[in-house]
Protein backbone atom coordinates (compact mmCIF):
# COMPACT_ATOMS: atom_id res chain seq x y z
CA UNK A 1 0.00 0.00 0.00
CA UNK A 2 2.80 2.39 0.87
CA UNK A 3 4.30 1.65 -2.54
CA UNK A 4 1.14 2.87 -4.14
CA UNK A 5 1.25 6.13 -2.25
CA UNK A 6 4.83 6.57 -3.39
CA UNK A 7 3.80 6.04 -7.00
CA UNK A 8 1.13 8.68 -6.62
CA UNK A 9 3.56 11.20 -5.09
CA UNK A 10 6.28 10.93 -7.69
CA UNK A 11 8.41 14.02 -8.48
CA UNK A 12 6.76 16.05 -5.80
CA UNK A 13 8.65 19.22 -4.84
CA UNK A 14 9.03 20.09 -1.20
CA UNK A 15 7.66 23.35 0.08
CA UNK A 16 11.12 24.91 0.44
CA UNK A 17 12.03 23.95 -3.14
CA UNK A 18 8.82 25.51 -4.34
CA UNK A 19 9.52 28.63 -2.33
CA UNK A 20 12.99 29.02 -3.79
CA UNK A 21 11.76 28.48 -7.31
CA UNK A 22 8.75 30.76 -7.14
CA UNK A 23 10.52 33.56 -5.30
CA UNK A 24 13.02 33.67 -8.14
CA UNK A 25 10.22 34.78 -10.49
CA UNK A 26 8.89 37.61 -8.44
CA UNK A 27 10.48 39.27 -5.47
CA UNK A 28 7.32 40.86 -4.08
CA UNK A 29 5.72 37.64 -2.86
CA UNK A 30 5.18 36.81 0.78
CA UNK A 31 5.67 33.18 1.78
CA UNK A 32 4.28 31.61 4.90
CA UNK A 33 3.84 28.11 6.24
CA UNK A 34 2.47 29.07 9.62
CA UNK A 35 -1.05 28.04 10.62
CA UNK A 36 -1.59 26.00 7.48
CA UNK A 37 -0.65 22.63 6.07
CA UNK A 38 0.24 24.15 2.69
CA UNK A 39 2.78 26.68 1.52
CA UNK A 40 0.97 30.01 1.35
CA UNK A 41 1.90 32.73 -1.11
CA UNK A 42 0.41 36.19 -0.78
CA UNK A 43 0.54 38.11 -4.01
CA UNK A 44 -0.35 41.65 -4.93
CA UNK A 45 -3.46 41.97 -7.14
CA UNK A 46 -1.50 43.38 -10.06
CA UNK A 47 0.82 40.37 -10.19
CA UNK A 48 -1.90 37.78 -9.63
CA UNK A 49 -2.66 36.71 -13.17
CA UNK A 50 0.97 36.68 -14.20
CA UNK A 51 2.00 34.52 -11.24
CA UNK A 52 -0.85 32.05 -11.60
CA UNK A 53 -0.37 31.54 -15.32
CA UNK A 54 3.33 31.02 -14.69
CA UNK A 55 2.54 28.49 -11.96
CA UNK A 56 0.52 26.52 -14.44
CA UNK A 57 2.71 26.78 -17.50
CA UNK A 58 6.07 26.18 -15.82
CA UNK A 59 6.90 22.51 -16.22
CA UNK A 60 8.56 22.25 -12.81
CA UNK A 61 5.53 23.48 -10.92
CA UNK A 62 2.72 22.80 -13.46
CA UNK A 63 -0.16 23.52 -11.11
CA UNK A 64 -2.89 22.53 -13.52
CA UNK A 65 -5.65 21.64 -11.07
CA UNK A 66 -7.44 24.43 -9.21
CA UNK A 67 -9.30 22.42 -6.63
CA UNK A 68 -10.68 25.20 -4.51
CA UNK A 69 -11.30 28.90 -4.97
CA UNK A 70 -12.48 30.63 -1.85
CA UNK A 71 -13.64 34.16 -1.32
CA UNK A 72 -12.53 35.62 2.00
CA UNK A 73 -13.37 38.57 4.16
CA UNK A 74 -10.56 39.19 6.64
CA UNK A 75 -12.40 41.95 8.40
CA UNK A 76 -10.60 44.82 6.72
CA UNK A 77 -9.38 43.12 3.57
CA UNK A 78 -11.33 41.22 0.97
CA UNK A 79 -9.55 38.55 -0.95
CA UNK A 80 -9.49 35.26 -2.75
CA UNK A 81 -7.69 32.04 -1.81
CA UNK A 82 -6.61 29.70 -4.59
CA UNK A 83 -5.84 26.07 -3.71
CA UNK A 84 -3.68 24.57 -6.42
CA UNK A 85 -2.51 21.06 -7.11
CA UNK A 86 -0.31 19.63 -9.80
CA UNK A 87 -1.66 16.49 -11.41
CA UNK A 88 1.79 15.45 -12.59
CA UNK A 89 3.90 16.29 -9.54
CA UNK A 90 1.16 16.04 -6.92
CA UNK A 91 2.35 18.99 -4.85
CA UNK A 92 -0.05 21.55 -3.48
CA UNK A 93 0.10 25.28 -3.00
CA UNK A 94 -2.08 28.07 -1.72
CA UNK A 95 -2.08 31.51 -3.30
CA UNK A 96 -3.79 34.40 -1.59
CA UNK A 97 -4.63 37.80 -2.90
CA UNK A 98 -6.01 40.68 -0.87
CA UNK A 99 -7.34 44.14 -1.36
CA UNK A 100 -8.45 46.71 1.17
CA UNK A 101 -10.87 48.32 -1.26
CA UNK A 102 -14.27 47.24 0.07
CA UNK A 103 -16.31 49.43 -2.24
CA UNK A 104 -15.11 48.12 -5.55
CA UNK A 105 -12.76 45.17 -5.06
CA UNK A 106 -11.45 43.90 -8.36
CA UNK A 107 -9.01 41.16 -9.35
CA UNK A 108 -8.03 39.60 -12.63
CA UNK A 109 -10.04 36.56 -13.60
CA UNK A 110 -8.24 33.24 -13.93
CA UNK A 111 -10.91 31.67 -16.17
CA UNK A 112 -8.47 31.53 -19.05
CA UNK A 113 -6.03 29.48 -16.94
CA UNK A 114 -8.45 27.07 -15.30
CA UNK A 115 -11.95 26.77 -16.77
CA UNK A 116 -13.39 25.77 -13.41
CA UNK A 117 -12.72 29.29 -12.13
CA UNK A 118 -15.64 30.60 -14.17
CA UNK A 119 -18.23 29.15 -11.82
CA UNK A 120 -16.19 29.63 -8.67
CA UNK A 121 -15.58 33.30 -9.44
CA UNK A 122 -19.27 33.80 -10.01
CA UNK A 123 -19.86 32.31 -6.59
CA UNK A 124 -17.28 34.66 -5.03
CA UNK A 125 -18.86 37.63 -6.77
CA UNK A 126 -22.24 36.54 -5.48
CA UNK A 127 -21.13 36.22 -1.86
CA UNK A 128 -18.46 38.90 -1.53
CA UNK A 129 -19.02 41.33 -4.35
CA UNK A 130 -15.50 40.85 -5.65
CA UNK A 131 -15.39 41.65 -9.36
CA UNK A 132 -13.18 39.82 -11.81
CA UNK A 133 -11.75 41.47 -14.90
CA UNK A 134 -12.17 39.58 -18.17
CA UNK A 135 -14.70 37.20 -16.71
CA UNK A 136 -17.01 36.10 -19.57
CA UNK A 137 -20.26 36.07 -17.63
CA UNK A 138 -20.09 37.61 -14.19
CA UNK A 139 -23.51 37.48 -12.53
CA UNK A 140 -25.25 36.42 -9.37
CA UNK A 141 -25.13 32.64 -9.27
CA UNK A 142 -27.09 31.53 -6.21
CA UNK A 143 -28.78 34.60 -4.80
CA UNK A 144 -31.78 36.19 -6.54
CA UNK A 145 -30.79 38.63 -9.24
CA UNK A 146 -32.15 41.62 -7.30
CA UNK A 147 -30.54 40.79 -3.96
CA UNK A 148 -28.97 43.74 -2.20
CA UNK A 149 -25.64 43.25 -0.46
CA UNK A 150 -23.12 40.46 -0.32
CA UNK A 151 -24.17 37.97 2.34
CA UNK A 152 -20.88 36.36 3.30
CA UNK A 153 -19.14 39.66 4.11
CA UNK A 154 -18.62 40.10 7.80
CA UNK A 155 -20.37 43.47 7.84
CA UNK A 156 -23.49 42.16 6.12
CA UNK A 157 -26.66 42.78 8.11
CA UNK A 158 -30.02 41.25 7.44
CA UNK A 159 -32.29 41.52 10.41
CA UNK A 160 -35.14 39.61 8.80
CA UNK A 161 -33.46 36.44 7.63
CA UNK A 162 -30.48 36.06 9.94
CA UNK A 163 -30.79 34.65 13.41
CA UNK A 164 -27.84 35.63 15.57
CA UNK A 165 -27.22 33.41 18.53
Amino acid sequence: MTDLIKVYKINSMTNSDLQTLISSWNSELEFSEAESQFLNITVKPEHLHELLSQLKSNTETSFDYLFCLTGMDWGTDLGVVYHLESTTHRHQLVVKVKTSDRENPTFDSVCDIWSTAEFHEMEVFDYFGIKFNNHPNLKRLFMPKDWVGYPLRKDYVDEVNMIIK
Binding site: E35, F67, S115, T116, H120, F142, P144
Partner: protein, 373 residues
Protein backbone atom coordinates in the same frame (compact mmCIF):
# COMPACT_ATOMS: atom_id res chain seq x y z
CA UNK B 1 -20.25 35.70 -60.81
CA UNK B 2 -22.04 36.38 -57.58
CA UNK B 3 -24.42 33.55 -56.79
CA UNK B 4 -28.00 34.44 -56.05
CA UNK B 5 -28.15 31.63 -53.54
CA UNK B 6 -28.43 33.13 -50.10
CA UNK B 7 -27.38 31.11 -47.12
CA UNK B 8 -29.74 32.97 -44.90
CA UNK B 9 -32.78 31.75 -46.73
CA UNK B 10 -32.06 28.30 -45.31
CA UNK B 11 -31.14 29.47 -41.85
CA UNK B 12 -32.67 27.41 -39.11
CA UNK B 13 -33.96 29.14 -36.06
CA UNK B 14 -32.59 28.74 -32.57
CA UNK B 15 -34.90 28.90 -29.61
CA UNK B 16 -34.74 28.81 -25.85
CA UNK B 17 -36.01 26.03 -23.70
CA UNK B 18 -36.23 26.07 -19.94
CA UNK B 19 -35.17 22.70 -18.65
CA UNK B 20 -36.15 22.87 -15.04
CA UNK B 21 -36.49 23.96 -12.25
CA UNK B 22 -39.10 21.23 -12.33
CA UNK B 23 -37.99 18.64 -14.82
CA UNK B 24 -37.62 14.90 -14.40
CA UNK B 25 -34.07 14.77 -15.73
CA UNK B 26 -32.49 17.55 -13.70
CA UNK B 27 -32.73 15.52 -10.48
CA UNK B 28 -33.84 18.33 -8.27
CA UNK B 29 -34.42 22.01 -8.70
CA UNK B 30 -31.70 22.74 -11.23
CA UNK B 31 -32.63 24.99 -14.11
CA UNK B 32 -30.84 24.73 -17.44
CA UNK B 33 -31.33 27.42 -20.04
CA UNK B 34 -30.95 25.60 -23.31
CA UNK B 35 -30.48 27.16 -26.70
CA UNK B 36 -31.65 24.60 -29.19
CA UNK B 37 -31.62 24.33 -32.93
CA UNK B 38 -34.09 21.57 -33.70
CA UNK B 39 -32.81 18.85 -31.46
CA UNK B 40 -29.22 20.05 -31.35
CA UNK B 41 -27.99 21.91 -28.32
CA UNK B 42 -26.19 25.17 -29.05
CA UNK B 43 -25.71 26.44 -25.52
CA UNK B 44 -26.33 25.30 -21.97
CA UNK B 45 -26.44 27.73 -19.12
CA UNK B 46 -27.16 26.44 -15.62
CA UNK B 47 -29.20 28.70 -13.41
CA UNK B 48 -28.57 27.77 -9.80
CA UNK B 49 -29.80 28.81 -6.40
CA UNK B 50 -33.25 27.27 -6.25
CA UNK B 51 -32.32 25.27 -3.16
CA UNK B 52 -29.69 27.63 -1.77
CA UNK B 53 -29.77 27.65 2.03
CA UNK B 54 -26.51 29.51 2.71
CA UNK B 55 -24.98 26.67 4.67
CA UNK B 56 -21.61 28.44 4.66
CA UNK B 57 -23.11 31.44 6.43
CA UNK B 58 -24.87 29.21 8.92
CA UNK B 59 -21.59 27.46 9.65
CA UNK B 60 -20.04 30.75 10.72
CA UNK B 61 -22.71 30.96 13.38
CA UNK B 62 -22.68 27.36 14.65
CA UNK B 63 -20.31 25.47 16.88
CA UNK B 64 -18.20 22.71 15.37
CA UNK B 65 -20.50 19.95 16.61
CA UNK B 66 -23.46 21.68 15.08
CA UNK B 67 -21.82 22.15 11.70
CA UNK B 68 -21.67 18.40 11.16
CA UNK B 69 -25.40 17.93 10.84
CA UNK B 70 -25.62 20.70 8.26
CA UNK B 71 -23.36 18.77 5.91
CA UNK B 72 -25.95 15.97 5.80
CA UNK B 73 -28.11 18.36 3.88
CA UNK B 74 -25.56 19.15 1.20
CA UNK B 75 -24.96 15.97 -0.71
CA UNK B 76 -27.59 13.91 1.02
CA UNK B 77 -26.60 10.78 -0.86
CA UNK B 78 -23.17 10.72 0.73
CA UNK B 79 -24.22 12.23 4.03
CA UNK B 80 -21.88 10.13 6.11
CA UNK B 81 -18.85 11.05 4.03
CA UNK B 82 -19.67 14.75 4.32
CA UNK B 83 -19.92 14.38 8.10
CA UNK B 84 -16.61 12.59 8.09
CA UNK B 85 -14.95 15.42 6.16
CA UNK B 86 -15.86 18.03 8.76
CA UNK B 87 -14.97 15.73 11.64
CA UNK B 88 -11.59 14.91 10.11
CA UNK B 89 -10.87 18.57 9.55
CA UNK B 90 -11.68 19.41 13.18
CA UNK B 91 -9.76 16.41 14.50
CA UNK B 92 -6.69 17.24 12.42
CA UNK B 93 -6.83 20.83 13.56
CA UNK B 94 -6.99 19.76 17.19
CA UNK B 95 -4.33 17.12 16.68
CA UNK B 96 -6.76 14.55 17.96
CA UNK B 97 -6.05 10.89 17.32
CA UNK B 98 -9.29 8.93 17.01
CA UNK B 99 -9.39 5.25 18.02
CA UNK B 100 -8.73 2.60 15.39
CA UNK B 101 -12.24 1.27 15.83
CA UNK B 102 -13.68 4.60 14.80
CA UNK B 103 -11.53 4.75 11.69
CA UNK B 104 -12.59 1.31 10.52
CA UNK B 105 -16.27 1.85 11.24
CA UNK B 106 -16.19 5.19 9.47
CA UNK B 107 -14.59 3.59 6.44
CA UNK B 108 -17.12 0.76 6.28
CA UNK B 109 -20.05 3.12 6.56
CA UNK B 110 -18.50 5.49 4.03
CA UNK B 111 -18.21 2.65 1.54
CA UNK B 112 -21.77 1.55 2.24
CA UNK B 113 -22.83 5.13 1.61
CA UNK B 114 -20.96 5.14 -1.67
CA UNK B 115 -22.64 1.90 -2.65
CA UNK B 116 -26.06 3.27 -1.75
CA UNK B 117 -25.39 6.40 -3.73
CA UNK B 118 -24.20 4.49 -6.78
CA UNK B 119 -27.17 2.13 -6.58
CA UNK B 120 -29.54 5.04 -6.63
CA UNK B 121 -27.56 6.58 -9.46
CA UNK B 122 -27.76 3.34 -11.44
CA UNK B 123 -31.50 3.19 -11.04
CA UNK B 124 -31.93 6.79 -12.05
CA UNK B 125 -29.47 6.48 -14.91
CA UNK B 126 -31.59 3.70 -16.36
CA UNK B 127 -34.69 5.78 -15.89
CA UNK B 128 -33.15 8.77 -17.61
CA UNK B 129 -32.37 6.77 -20.72
CA UNK B 130 -35.85 5.28 -20.58
CA UNK B 131 -35.52 1.92 -18.82
CA UNK B 132 -37.84 2.48 -15.90
CA UNK B 133 -37.44 -0.90 -14.26
CA UNK B 134 -33.81 -0.36 -13.23
CA UNK B 135 -34.98 2.20 -10.71
CA UNK B 136 -36.69 -0.42 -8.60
CA UNK B 137 -33.85 -2.92 -8.80
CA UNK B 138 -31.44 -0.23 -7.65
CA UNK B 139 -33.73 0.74 -4.81
CA UNK B 140 -34.23 -2.85 -3.71
CA UNK B 141 -30.52 -3.16 -2.98
CA UNK B 142 -30.23 0.33 -1.57
CA UNK B 143 -33.00 -0.43 0.87
CA UNK B 144 -30.83 -3.06 2.57
CA UNK B 145 -28.10 -0.48 3.15
CA UNK B 146 -30.62 2.00 4.45
CA UNK B 147 -31.84 -0.59 6.93
CA UNK B 148 -28.26 -1.10 8.13
CA UNK B 149 -27.93 2.65 8.61
CA UNK B 150 -31.25 2.95 10.35
CA UNK B 151 -30.42 0.21 12.79
CA UNK B 152 -27.01 1.61 13.66
CA UNK B 153 -27.36 5.36 13.19
CA UNK B 154 -31.07 5.89 13.71
CA UNK B 155 -31.74 7.52 10.37
CA UNK B 156 -31.76 6.37 6.81
CA UNK B 157 -30.42 9.35 4.92
CA UNK B 158 -29.26 12.24 7.10
CA UNK B 159 -27.52 10.11 9.67
CA UNK B 160 -25.31 12.54 11.56
CA UNK B 161 -23.44 9.57 13.02
CA UNK B 162 -20.06 11.29 13.26
CA UNK B 163 -19.07 13.77 15.88
CA UNK B 164 -15.67 15.44 16.15
CA UNK B 165 -13.66 12.87 18.07
CA UNK B 166 -15.42 9.72 16.96
CA UNK B 167 -18.90 8.38 16.60
CA UNK B 168 -22.10 9.31 18.35
CA UNK B 169 -22.62 5.78 19.64
CA UNK B 170 -21.23 2.34 19.01
CA UNK B 171 -22.37 0.16 16.12
CA UNK B 172 -25.43 -1.95 16.65
CA UNK B 173 -24.72 -5.63 17.51
CA UNK B 174 -26.44 -6.69 14.28
CA UNK B 175 -24.34 -4.38 12.13
CA UNK B 176 -21.63 -6.87 11.16
CA UNK B 177 -24.05 -9.66 10.30
CA UNK B 178 -26.35 -7.41 8.32
CA UNK B 179 -23.45 -5.96 6.37
CA UNK B 180 -22.18 -9.42 5.53
CA UNK B 181 -25.65 -10.45 4.41
CA UNK B 182 -25.84 -7.40 2.23
CA UNK B 183 -22.44 -8.03 0.63
CA UNK B 184 -23.41 -11.61 -0.13
CA UNK B 185 -26.74 -10.48 -1.56
CA UNK B 186 -25.33 -7.67 -3.64
CA UNK B 187 -22.61 -9.82 -5.14
CA UNK B 188 -25.31 -11.85 -6.83
CA UNK B 189 -27.27 -8.78 -7.93
CA UNK B 190 -24.49 -6.62 -9.32
CA UNK B 191 -23.87 -8.90 -12.35
CA UNK B 192 -27.58 -8.54 -13.06
CA UNK B 193 -27.07 -4.79 -13.43
CA UNK B 194 -24.69 -5.60 -16.26
CA UNK B 195 -26.94 -8.05 -18.06
CA UNK B 196 -29.95 -5.78 -17.78
CA UNK B 197 -28.45 -2.44 -18.74
CA UNK B 198 -24.71 -2.38 -19.42
CA UNK B 199 -24.78 -4.96 -22.19
CA UNK B 200 -27.98 -3.70 -23.75
CA UNK B 201 -27.34 -2.57 -27.31
CA UNK B 202 -29.70 0.40 -27.07
CA UNK B 203 -28.03 1.57 -23.87
CA UNK B 204 -24.57 1.29 -25.40
CA UNK B 205 -25.67 3.20 -28.47
CA UNK B 206 -27.13 5.89 -26.23
CA UNK B 207 -23.98 6.30 -24.15
CA UNK B 208 -20.89 5.43 -26.20
CA UNK B 209 -19.18 8.46 -27.67
CA UNK B 210 -21.65 10.81 -26.03
CA UNK B 211 -20.57 13.77 -23.95
CA UNK B 212 -16.85 13.29 -24.34
CA UNK B 213 -14.65 15.10 -21.82
CA UNK B 214 -10.94 14.93 -22.55
CA UNK B 215 -8.39 14.53 -19.79
CA UNK B 216 -7.16 18.10 -20.25
CA UNK B 217 -10.67 19.46 -19.97
CA UNK B 218 -11.44 17.26 -17.01
CA UNK B 219 -8.45 18.72 -15.15
CA UNK B 220 -9.10 22.26 -16.29
CA UNK B 221 -12.74 22.15 -15.24
CA UNK B 222 -11.70 20.86 -11.84
CA UNK B 223 -13.81 17.73 -12.15
CA UNK B 224 -13.25 14.95 -9.68
CA UNK B 225 -14.57 11.58 -8.75
CA UNK B 226 -16.02 9.21 -11.34
CA UNK B 227 -16.39 12.00 -13.90
CA UNK B 228 -12.65 12.75 -13.87
CA UNK B 229 -11.61 9.12 -13.58
CA UNK B 230 -13.60 8.24 -16.69
CA UNK B 231 -11.44 10.74 -18.55
CA UNK B 232 -8.26 9.10 -17.38
CA UNK B 233 -7.37 11.55 -14.62
CA UNK B 234 -6.40 9.58 -11.54
CA UNK B 235 -7.76 11.63 -8.67
CA UNK B 236 -9.01 9.24 -6.01
CA UNK B 237 -8.51 11.04 -2.70
CA UNK B 238 -8.64 7.69 -0.95
CA UNK B 239 -5.42 6.80 -2.78
CA UNK B 240 -3.70 10.18 -2.95
CA UNK B 241 -4.36 11.44 0.55
CA UNK B 242 -5.55 8.40 2.51
CA UNK B 243 -7.71 9.19 5.52
CA UNK B 244 -9.45 6.96 8.06
CA UNK B 245 -8.67 3.32 7.27
CA UNK B 246 -8.05 3.65 3.54
CA UNK B 247 -4.29 3.27 3.98
CA UNK B 248 -4.68 -0.35 5.09
CA UNK B 249 -7.11 -1.69 2.53
CA UNK B 250 -6.33 -3.00 -0.89
CA UNK B 251 -8.41 -1.68 -3.72
CA UNK B 252 -7.99 -0.43 -7.25
CA UNK B 253 -8.86 2.95 -8.52
CA UNK B 254 -11.44 2.59 -11.28
CA UNK B 255 -9.87 4.33 -14.23
CA UNK B 256 -11.04 4.58 -17.83
CA UNK B 257 -9.73 6.76 -20.62
CA UNK B 258 -12.63 7.18 -23.06
CA UNK B 259 -14.18 10.10 -21.20
CA UNK B 260 -17.64 9.46 -22.60
CA UNK B 261 -20.88 8.72 -20.85
CA UNK B 262 -20.36 4.99 -21.06
CA UNK B 263 -16.93 5.30 -19.39
CA UNK B 264 -18.45 7.28 -16.54
CA UNK B 265 -21.08 4.60 -16.23
CA UNK B 266 -18.47 1.86 -16.09
CA UNK B 267 -16.35 3.71 -13.52
CA UNK B 268 -19.27 3.70 -11.14
CA UNK B 269 -20.07 0.03 -11.72
CA UNK B 270 -16.38 -0.73 -11.13
CA UNK B 271 -16.42 1.39 -7.97
CA UNK B 272 -19.26 -0.66 -6.60
CA UNK B 273 -17.09 -3.77 -6.91
CA UNK B 274 -14.18 -1.98 -5.22
CA UNK B 275 -16.41 -0.78 -2.39
CA UNK B 276 -17.60 -4.33 -1.84
CA UNK B 277 -13.95 -5.43 -1.70
CA UNK B 278 -13.11 -2.75 0.87
CA UNK B 279 -16.05 -3.70 3.06
CA UNK B 280 -15.12 -7.36 2.88
CA UNK B 281 -11.58 -6.61 3.99
CA UNK B 282 -12.66 -4.55 6.96
CA UNK B 283 -15.89 -6.09 8.20
CA UNK B 284 -14.20 -9.00 9.98
CA UNK B 285 -11.44 -6.85 11.40
CA UNK B 286 -13.19 -4.13 13.35
CA UNK B 287 -10.80 -3.58 16.26
CA UNK B 288 -12.11 -3.43 19.79
CA UNK B 289 -11.91 -0.14 21.63
CA UNK B 290 -13.67 3.09 22.32
CA UNK B 291 -16.06 4.55 19.84
CA UNK B 292 -14.95 8.09 20.56
CA UNK B 293 -12.28 10.12 22.26
CA UNK B 294 -13.32 12.70 24.75
CA UNK B 295 -13.38 16.26 23.52
CA UNK B 296 -14.25 19.41 25.33
CA UNK B 297 -17.90 20.29 25.36
CA UNK B 298 -16.95 23.50 23.58
CA UNK B 299 -14.47 22.81 20.80
CA UNK B 300 -12.16 25.68 19.96
CA UNK B 301 -9.84 25.23 17.04
CA UNK B 302 -6.41 26.87 17.13
CA UNK B 303 -5.95 29.93 14.94
CA UNK B 304 -5.14 28.96 11.37
CA UNK B 305 -6.35 27.46 8.14
CA UNK B 306 -7.26 23.82 7.77
CA UNK B 307 -8.12 21.96 4.61
CA UNK B 308 -9.46 18.44 4.50
CA UNK B 309 -10.50 16.56 1.39
CA UNK B 310 -12.42 13.33 1.18
CA UNK B 311 -13.77 11.26 -1.65
CA UNK B 312 -17.55 11.30 -1.67
CA UNK B 313 -19.63 9.31 -4.11
CA UNK B 314 -19.53 12.27 -6.47
CA UNK B 315 -15.89 13.25 -6.13
CA UNK B 316 -13.61 15.34 -4.04
CA UNK B 317 -15.26 17.22 -1.19
CA UNK B 318 -13.03 19.84 0.37
CA UNK B 319 -13.63 21.46 3.72
CA UNK B 320 -11.67 24.67 4.17
CA UNK B 321 -11.89 25.99 7.72
CA UNK B 322 -10.42 29.36 8.65
CA UNK B 323 -10.37 29.63 12.40
CA UNK B 324 -9.65 32.64 14.56
CA UNK B 325 -9.53 30.62 17.77
CA UNK B 326 -13.16 31.03 18.69
CA UNK B 327 -15.77 28.31 19.15
CA UNK B 328 -17.18 28.78 15.69
CA UNK B 329 -15.28 29.01 12.44
CA UNK B 330 -14.37 32.38 10.99
CA UNK B 331 -15.02 31.13 7.48
CA UNK B 332 -15.94 27.70 6.26
CA UNK B 333 -15.92 26.83 2.60
CA UNK B 334 -17.17 23.60 1.12
CA UNK B 335 -15.60 22.72 -2.17
CA UNK B 336 -18.41 20.59 -3.47
CA UNK B 337 -17.72 18.04 -6.19
CA UNK B 338 -20.99 18.57 -8.03
CA UNK B 339 -20.34 22.28 -8.51
CA UNK B 340 -17.15 21.76 -10.48
CA UNK B 341 -18.55 18.76 -12.31
CA UNK B 342 -21.55 20.76 -13.44
CA UNK B 343 -19.32 23.47 -14.88
CA UNK B 344 -18.05 20.92 -17.39
CA UNK B 345 -21.56 20.23 -18.68
CA UNK B 346 -21.49 23.01 -21.25
CA UNK B 347 -18.27 21.70 -22.71
CA UNK B 348 -19.74 18.24 -23.03
CA UNK B 349 -23.23 19.08 -24.19
CA UNK B 350 -22.82 21.65 -26.93
CA UNK B 351 -23.40 20.03 -30.31
CA UNK B 352 -25.16 16.95 -29.06
CA UNK B 353 -28.85 16.17 -28.97
CA UNK B 354 -31.49 16.73 -26.34
CA UNK B 355 -31.61 13.04 -25.47
CA UNK B 356 -27.85 12.99 -24.99
CA UNK B 357 -28.04 15.85 -22.52
CA UNK B 358 -30.23 13.74 -20.29
CA UNK B 359 -27.75 10.86 -20.42
CA UNK B 360 -24.88 13.25 -19.65
CA UNK B 361 -26.70 14.77 -16.71
CA UNK B 362 -27.34 11.28 -15.41
CA UNK B 363 -23.67 10.32 -15.47
CA UNK B 364 -22.56 13.62 -13.97
CA UNK B 365 -24.66 12.37 -11.05
CA UNK B 366 -25.63 15.80 -9.85
CA UNK B 367 -27.18 16.32 -6.45
CA UNK B 368 -28.50 19.87 -6.54
CA UNK B 369 -28.33 20.68 -2.80
CA UNK B 370 -24.64 19.84 -3.03
CA UNK B 371 -24.20 22.46 -5.75
CA UNK B 372 -26.36 25.16 -4.21
CA UNK B 373 -25.44 24.53 -0.57
Amino acid sequence: METTFEKNSFKSEEYFINMGPQHPATHGVLRLLLTIDGEIIKNVEPDLGYIHRSIEKMCERDSYQQIVHLTDRMDYLSAHINNEAVCLAVENALGLEVPERVKVIRTIIAELTRLASHQLWWGVMGMDVGALTTYFYGFRDREMINDIFEETCGARLTMNYNIPGGLMFDIHPNFVQRTKDFVAHFKTKLPEYDTLLTGNVIFQKRTKGVGILTKEDAISFGTSGPVARASGYSCDVRKLHPYSAYDRVNFNEALFTEGDTFARYRVRIQEMWESLAIIEQLIDNIPEGDYKTATNAVIKLPKGEFYQKVETARGELGVFIVSDGKKNPYRLKFRSPGFSNLSALKKMAVGSKLGDLVAMMATLDIVVPDIDR
